[in-house]
Symmetry: C2
Subunit: 338 residues, 2 copies
């Protein structure tokens, strides 16, 4: 413990010039409070982009991966994509009278939030498939776009795309300004995120990795080639699926990864396993006043969404992953906050 | 027919300044002879990158997809990756005495080329899986790298990575210089191509889309996260698989696509279906002296590898795809030619 503290203090001294530069109005992370999380990010960029550094990373290998739900935007009280799926089931119900008496649709149509919160992963998968398939990929994109334009969250009465975390947008921009390619690596639907990824995060479709349904190439009535979505999951981009899909899409280890739950654990491990200087960070939701507070490892409620468990916390501590406390590390959470 | 010729002649006149610029030593495609193929490429870049053009394409949407075997490098008399797989089966045989009496391994071990040429796709899949799985992804990469460093092709006695087409490298460079992101979209193995893609084509791993085996995230004896390859195909990136995987990886239509066989037909259709100015080109192997000649649509032999069928030719003609004649369009095929 003593040695560790000494290293921390030395590191703090080395990084004083960075903080001074920040104070002089060149702060690339203005929504972050000074502290180990902010310093960790500044130091990581410094040591991986300075050609004289032993940890220098050539530009082509500068890859940063961000989980989405709970890491770059609000995931409570329910994942946004599930809210979309539930509303779409309600909208489609008139064409499916059998849903009134078939589970899990019956529960969704009942509007009973407590019952909906008890749906199993298998139930949710059934709902996602019923609400996301049987159309061309472009039709699906249009449906999502229309929904996002109209839907408002219950707490702030804002579009869901307003609920992105300003400090994380700053990290993305800062990394990109330093030659990093930023990726979203989400358990959520790849197609769903791609609809707004460029506008909201500045991340183009080809840098969004997510759970994906199969597509099937066929022809429309004019003989034009089209892609339709049969009801079949191709990639489940969560837990072990994250490093597997990172390899499939990118072919190498990220140098930096940001998550907030056990579903990100393997991605953080895999990032660190690449060797050299790496940055692994996890967001802890500990600010009930400004956002939400949950995470059993910290004595906060376990809400089953974005679970920050004791084992994740222990692994983080033992491997030097940095825990981002929303309460302490983020000066401002949303861009529209005063 | 008459109207078509007239359009061609008009187009030729519009493009004369481009040819003149080329003649003045600014030619971005020096290994191409003047003709409709070269003009098609120059014109496509001109109309999609000039902000005043009605067909202007914003930089982020400039995507170009290249098939590999027969399009960017030699595929005859056998796909390079199959040669690798066959040699690896021979190398692994001592650990698998049962292969001496089990098909399709017995055929491969017999060294009977005629019998090997008669192997079915199912046989080849068995061979690919046996030779490509059961190890970490890094081990596989090292095996491919070692093989490529030593292996020589039979006709020119050169490393297989020397057998890339110089005119296609020039097209890739020219497109990149004009803001296009170049992708390999191959029926071959994604992992295999990623080993040399950056060095040979200037295409990084994340822009190589190919047939892919599953990976499985697990831990090594030190508890380090690793990816191993179980014997299971995840993506078959050929025929309809090409547009499906382009959508999975890129999320949008390419603006330009280059192929040479029926396995590329759907990718070319899908590219054109994106609308606006598009470029769809197919390489015809009609130069037995300098390379190989095959393709039943042109009265050349059907060798079952890279099949240029009558239906592909008819579709190309009816949809305005440009056929690249190696004999007529390419001044030089390989960089090392005198």
């Amino acid at each position: 413990m003593k040695k560790r503290s000494y290293v921390c203090i030395s590191l703090l001294f080395c990084l004083l010039p960075l903080l001074r530069a920040a104070a002089q109005g060149q702060d690339p992370l203005p929504s972050w409070n000074d502290g180990p999380a902010k310093l960790g990010i500044l130091n990581f960029v410094k040591v991986t982009t300075d050609p004289a550094s032993p940890n220098f990373v050539p530009p082509g290998q500068r890859i940063a991966a961000f989980d989405q739900d709970g890491t770059t935007w609000v995931e409570h009280p329910m994942y946004t994509q599930f809210i979309f799926a539930f509303e779409r089931i309600v909208g489609l119900a008139p064409q499916h009278p059998e849903w009134m008496t078939t589970q899990p649709f019956q529960t969704v149509l009942s509007g009973d939030h407590a019952a909906m919160a008890r749906l199993t992963m298998k139930d949710l998968e059934t709902i996602l498939i019923a609400s996301h398939t049987g159309m061309t990929v472009e039709t699906f994109q249009n449906i999502v776009q229309d929904w996002l334009a109209k839907a408002r969250d219950q707490r702030w009465n804002r579009p869901y795309t307003d609920l992105v975390y300003q400090p994380m947008l700053e990290v993305m921009q800062y990394l990109r300004a330093n030659g990093y390619k930023t990726y979203i690596v989400t358990g959520g639907g790849q197609d769903f995120v791609r609809v707004y990824g460029e506008l909201v995060y500045g991340i183009p479709p080809e840098q969004v990795i997510g759970s994906a349904l199969e597509t099937h190439y066929t022809y429309d009535t004019r003989g034009q080639g089209i892609l339709v979505r049969p009801p079949k999951l191709l990639l489940n981009d969560d837990f072990s699926g994250k490093p597997e899909d990172i390899y499939l899409f990118i072919g190498r280890h990220p140098k930096a990864a940001f998550g907030n739950s056990t579903g990100d654990q393997q991605m953080l491990e895999y990032t660190q396993a690449g060797g050299g200087a790496t940055l692994a960070m996890i967001v802890l939701h500990d600010d009930a006043r400004r956002e939400y507070a949950y995470g059993p490892a910290m004595g906060l409620p376990d809400t089953k969404i974005g679970t920050f468990t004791q084992s994740l916390y222990d692994e983080a501590k033992s491997k030097g992953w940095v825990v981002i406390s929303i309460k302490n590390d983020w000066k401002r959470i949303f861009a529209w906050e005063r």
